[in-house]
Amino acid sequence: MANLQRSKQRRGLVVIDAAMTLVIFLLVVQIWLLSATLETFLAGHTVPVLPAAIFSGLLFLGCLALDLFVTRVDRESRKP
């Protein structure tokens, strides 16, 4: 029973690590997007600003979904 619990916990940790890696990847893309948008805006171009904001919002929603997923996995893995 203890082994089963340990294996469940280990599996949970692997899933959380994978989700965390995805969040980091999304965040790197978002940081790049923000700096590129700022650069474009300062150069006087305003057309790409709206699509960039929408895409950034989608990336944030992705991060939020992964965060909720991590919270759920965490709760289920630690359930006795």
Binding site: L33, A52, C63, D67, T71, S77
Partner: protein
């Protein structure tokens, strides 16, 4: 963030502080993910701020300011002036008998003052060796990320008048 928690009988502190050592790995990972998500929210807010700035930015209006007389400077000669405000230093260059161009003197890299190199026929920034084309202000070499803003010139009989700033 209580609004993101599903209603459970466990109090918040039991979720956030691990009693068992094995649970600690979970708590730290979950908190780190939460931190990353909040950072992501910050990035999104940054993008929204740029969007708001772009949406509410006023179209700038530029005054007409006489910057010199035609023939006042020799061919390949320069004259410095300020436009549109006294803090915006610009450089007027006579590239031909009847050809004049003017650019902002502020390098688009780190705002050092650029100067005209008649020998190499280009504008040069002495700080980091950024070179700009004298024809259109585009970057020829170096770290500047954008071309130099070009001052739009018009001729009013024998006077050269600055009427706007073109950013490309």
């Amino acid at each position: 963030m209580p609004f993101l928690r599903s209603p459970s009988k466990e109090p918040l502190w039991k979720d956030e502080f691990s009693v068992f050592t094995s649970d600690e790995r979970y708590v730290t990972r979950r908190q780190f993910t939460k931190f990353l998500t909040l950072t992501s929210l910050g990035m999104f807010v940054g993008n929204l701020w740029i969007l708001a700035k772009a949406h509410f930015a006023k179209t700038p209006s530029f005054p007409s300011v006489a910057v010199g007389e035609v023939g006042e400077i020799p061919v390949r000669g320069v004259k410095l002036f300020a436009y549109p405000t006294p803090q915006d230093h610009c450089i007027l260059i006579r590239t031909g008998e009847e050809e004049y161009v003017a650019y902002s003197q502020k390098c688009t890299h780190l705002s050092c003052a650029v100067y005209f190199s008649a020998k190499d026929d280009r504008l040069e920034c002495p700080c980091h060796q950024g070179f700009f084309s004298v024809k259109d202000g585009s970057v020829l070499q170096g770290p500047p990320p954008r071309p130099l803003p070009q001052i739009t010139l018009a001729r009013d009989s024998a006077r050269l008048v600055a009427i706007g700033v073109k950013r490309s």
